[in-house]
Structure formats: structure tokens, C-alpha cells
Amino acid sequence: MIQIESVTKRYPDGTTAVDDLSLDIPDGSITVLVGPSGCGKTTTLRMVNRMVEPTSGRILLDGSDITEQPVNALRRSMGYVIQNAGLFQHRTIVDNIATVPRMLGWDRRKARERARELMGRVGLDEALAKRYPYQLSGGQQQRVGVARALAADPPVLLMDEPFSAVDPIVRKSLQAELLRIQQELGKTIVFVTHDIDEAIRIGDMIAVMRTGGRLAQFAPPQELLSSPADEFVEDFLGTDRGIRRLSFFTSDGLALERGPVVAVDAGAEQVARATAAGAPYLLLTDADGKPLGWVAPQDAAGGADKVAVGSLLPYGRPFAAGRESLRDALDCAVLSPTGWAVAVDEQGAVAGVVSQEAIGAAIRSAHAGQREDGPAVPVRTTKAEVAT
């Protein structure tokens, strides 16, 4: 565990970058430091690997003061990833990644072997091993930066806005990759960002900082969204925090209806039975149970096999039942022309359909349940899904 105890940092010019900050960073999870630009996130992070020395207070790593061991030994036990990756442009990708193992005295062959293994782990094609950084895209460079930080298998990873300089699509895939790697490796990660969405997407715990280097709130993301400590945190979270909070509720409990679902070869009798289920539209599926589209009951009264597939209303994006969140289910329902969301199983076959009203009811009961039980701990798999 990393314990930050009443740490203050005043720079020589008088700027108080961090003011009496105390924070217990739990092992094996991702703790995000988030806040507006200049609020002292980078300074806090850099005090952990002693790139910056605190003016007062102390930082403990597994119970002992970080100043007790030689500074470079401390740094080698903590991976460090920065915004623009900071790759060594004169070294190949594989040698960039092998840097820390080489510093630790591994022989070159073993260090490179390890580096290649890590390329796979962070989703880089091994064919890039002999390239130089200038031959890689920004997103690829950032992956190399992460691989380089992981190379000597340090228990702690410090990341300072690692994905801020890449475009939103690449950023999402890097975030997903980080969550996947974290699921496998269980590192203690301190992650700095100014982007609250990123913080919510990847953080197990989020420390919101305010200008002047003070801690505004330290809580798991869903608690932050449901009960912001004050107006500053509320403002910082933005206006749609209610919707975003739905990301933390699973779609498991949704009452999926199978009644309005009919196969494309269903006869008039089956259609009549489906119509009796009372839904305003019927969902047609193909022979494998995959969705085809919606049709009004009166248009299919003569049998589903008489309906031209081209005349069906599009079903929009289906959501993965149970694996995606209530936010995804609601999004699907809102986007659907019929106002009903289509749920699919792992094979992509229709598991059922659900109305906006039913989703609304599920949201209300989820909120009620949370108030009784206190904040639920997010399920890791759910988080990874949300990020993809």
C-alpha cells in the first residue's frame, strides 16, 4: 500500500502545488487522481517516485518511508508512464522496452525476450520490434511506454496522463487494454488524468483534487456519481452524472420478454400468440435466432413468412444481456425506433426484448437497492466491457 501522509509541496517560487494531502492507495487496484489542470496531480504522482521531494509530510510504501531506500532502487520498482510516452528515439522498440531489465543487469538476450513477450501483452505486433519510435503511431508509442514500464514487473505503476495525447477512439482502446492487463497482473496503479470520464471508466478509487492541491473527495466511482461531496465535485462530474452512473448497474436484473419475438418462418397462429403478448411491435429473428428487425403486428398477421425482410424497422444496436450495463440497455432503447431494446446472448441470438418503461423501473429499483446496501463494488468484468 502507498500511504500519502499530510504531504505538502511548495515550489521555490511560492506556488503551493499540493496542500496537506493524505491518501491511502490500495494495493492491486487502480487509483485515479483527477482534477482541473494545475491542481497538483502531477506533483503528487512525482512525489511517489521522488522525482519531486515533498516540503513536508511523508510517503510510505508497504509501511516504510520511501526515503529509506536509494532513490534509483525505488524508481526501478515503480513503472513510470508519461503523456507522450517519452520513448528513446535512438533505440528500437524492443530495446526501449528492455531498458529497465538491462539497468537491473539482465543480459541482453533475456531482456529482449522479455520485451517481446510484453509487446504481445500490450497488443503490439511483434513485427514492430525492430522499428524505431518515429515509425509508430501515437497510440502504438503509448503502448510501448506501458510495456516499458511493465518490463521489470514492478509492483507499482505510475501513469501521468498516459492517454491524453491520442484521439478518443485510440484512447478508448488503450483504456480497455489497460483494464485487461490489470485484470491479469493486479498491479497497484496510480493514474493521473484531467478527464473525469476516463477516471470513471478505469478507476477503482478516484481522488478528486481541487486547485490549490487539496483533496475534494476520495471514493469509488459509483459513490462519486451518486453522492458527490460538494458543489465543486458535482460541477466537475458534469451534468449527465445520473446517466453515467448507470454504467455501474448490471443489466442482469432486467425482465426480458420473449413473447414479442417470432422466428421469420412463424405462421399466422404463432404471430397471433406473439401479438397477444401486448407489445406494440414484434421482433423477427432468423433461423439462428439473430435479430432481423421490428414489424407491426397487423403487417405480420398473415404469418411472419409473408413479411418482406426489407420492410422491417431496423432494430438498432442490441445490448449484451447481463454483460453490459443498464446504461447500455437504456441507450439501445432510446436509439431503437420502437423504443424497445433488443438483448442478445453471447452468440448474438436474441435473449429477449425490453421496453424503456421496464428499463426505467429497473433503474429505480437498482437505485433503491443501492441505498439499502450502500455503494456496490463494481464487477471487474463489467468495467472492462464498459470500456470496450
Partner: protein, 222 residues
């Protein structure tokens, strides 16, 4: 008689190819003086330029020194040193070193100052010591600019080393000085051609050093 005639006569005269006053011996002497001056200048200017560039402090003082050194007339300095120190290598080395120092000093300072700070920060954050950061992170990236400073210095020194002959030393200046004295223009032109050739050889030499010493990752990145 055309200048090309002079040149071809000079190089075809077999008497110019051996002995104390032969082309090979004079070329070696010339290169000897030049590289000695370049070596001394690099020994003085590189550490100062690299350190000031690395720390980012002292840039103004450095620019002042370089400008002052540039303002010194090489030949005037030589004459002064000659009257002060007498015949020898030292009075020749002083103006040549003064000539070579400014380009080396300024480019090495600039090379270090313009190194991207991000990889340096990453290296320190990974636990790399200061010497390793300098030699393994900063220098490899700063090398092309440093080499370009050494190359300008080398070209200037090779061209100016001819002045050694005016104080009775050897080198290719001998052909020029002696030729002028004897009104033998074939020798004057031949000597001047050799000096120009050596200056071009410096360009080729530093190009080659760059190919070998600078990482393709740095060359490709610009």
C-alpha cells in the same frame, strides 16, 4: 596559361610526390596540425557546451565567449603569438584552436538544450542515474548537431592551417607560401587545390561518422 593547366602540371610533376616537400608528407603534416587543433578545441569546448546546454544555465556567457573568439583574426593572432613565443607549434595551435572553439561550443550547447525533455524525464523516472541519462539518452539524440559543429570547425581549421607555413612550419601552406615567394604559380594553385580537397574530405569524413554513429531512429526522425 589556364588554372587547370597549373593544376594538372602540379600533380603530374613526379618531383612533387616524394620527400620532405612531397605532397603525401605535406598532407600528413597538414592533417596532423588540423586534427591536433581540432582535438584540443573539442576537449575544451565539448564538455563546456554539453554541461551548459544540459543544465540550461550560462548560455549568455557562452555566446559572448564564442562571439569574442570569432572576432579574433587568425593571422593576427598567429603573428602576435609568434613574436611572443617564438618558433614552434604552440603559436600555430592557439589561433587554430580559437577558430575551432566557437562552432563546437555553440552547437553542442544548442544540441543539448534542444533535446526533448520527455525521454529524459522518463529515464530519470525509471531510475537511470545522471551519467547514464547523459550518455544513453541525451548524447545519442544530440549527436547529429554536435557532429555538425565539429564538421564546421574541421573545415575552417583545415583551410586555415595553411598559415602554419608563414612561421616556418610545414603543411600544405608551404606550397602556397613558397610558390608565392618563388613566383611559381603552379605550386601555389596546386597547394590551394589540395587544401580545398582536404576541406571536402572533412565533409565526407563527418558524413561517414554520422552514418556510423547516429542511430537510424534519430536520423529518420528528422
Amino acid at each position: 596559361m589556364s588554372i587547370f593547366q597549373f593544376i594538372s602540371d602540379f600533380f603530374r610533376d613526379s618531383a612533387h610526390w616524394h620527400g620532405q616537400d612531397g605532397i603525401p608528407h605535406r598532407v600528413l603534416e597538414h592533417l596532423g596540425y588540423s586534427f591536433m587543433a581540432l582535438g584540443i578545441a573539442a576537449g575544451l569546448a565539448l564538455p563546456v557546451g554539453l554541461v551548459t546546454g544540459h543544465t540550461g544555465r550560462g548560455g549568455n556567457a557562452l555566446a559572448l565567449i564564442a562571439t569574442a573568439a570569432r572576432a579574433l583574426p587568425s593571422y593576427g593572432l598567429l603573428v602576435l603569438m609568434f613574436f611572443w613565443l617564438g618558433i614552434g607549434l604552440t603559436p600555430v595551435m592557439i589561433p587554430l584552436v580559437a577558430l575551432a572553439v566557437p562552432p563546437i561550443l555553440l552547437t553542442s550547447y544548442e544540441a543539448m538544450r534542444t533535446v526533448d525533455p520527455a525521454p529524459v524525464d522518463a529515464a530519470r523516472g525509471m531510475g537511470m542515474g545522471p551519467a547514464a541519462v547523459l550518455f544513453q539518452v541525451e548524447l545519442p539524440v544530440a549527436l547529429p548537431l554536435i557532429l555538425s559543429g565539429l564538421r564546421s570547425a574541421a573545415i575552417q581549421v583545415v583551410s586555415t592551417t595553411a598559415i602554419a607555413a608563414t612561421v616556418s612550419l610545414g603543411g600544405l601552406g608551404r606550397f602556397v607560401i613558397d610558390g608565392l615567394y618563388q613566383r611559381n604559380y603552379e605550386t601555389v594553385v596546386g597547394g590551394a587545390t589540395l587544401i580545398a580537397g582536404l576541406a571536402l574530405a572533412m565533409i565526407a569524413l563527418f558524413w561517414l561518422v554520422g552514418r556510423v554513429a547516429v542511430s537510424p531512429g534519430v536520423r529518420g526522425g528528422r
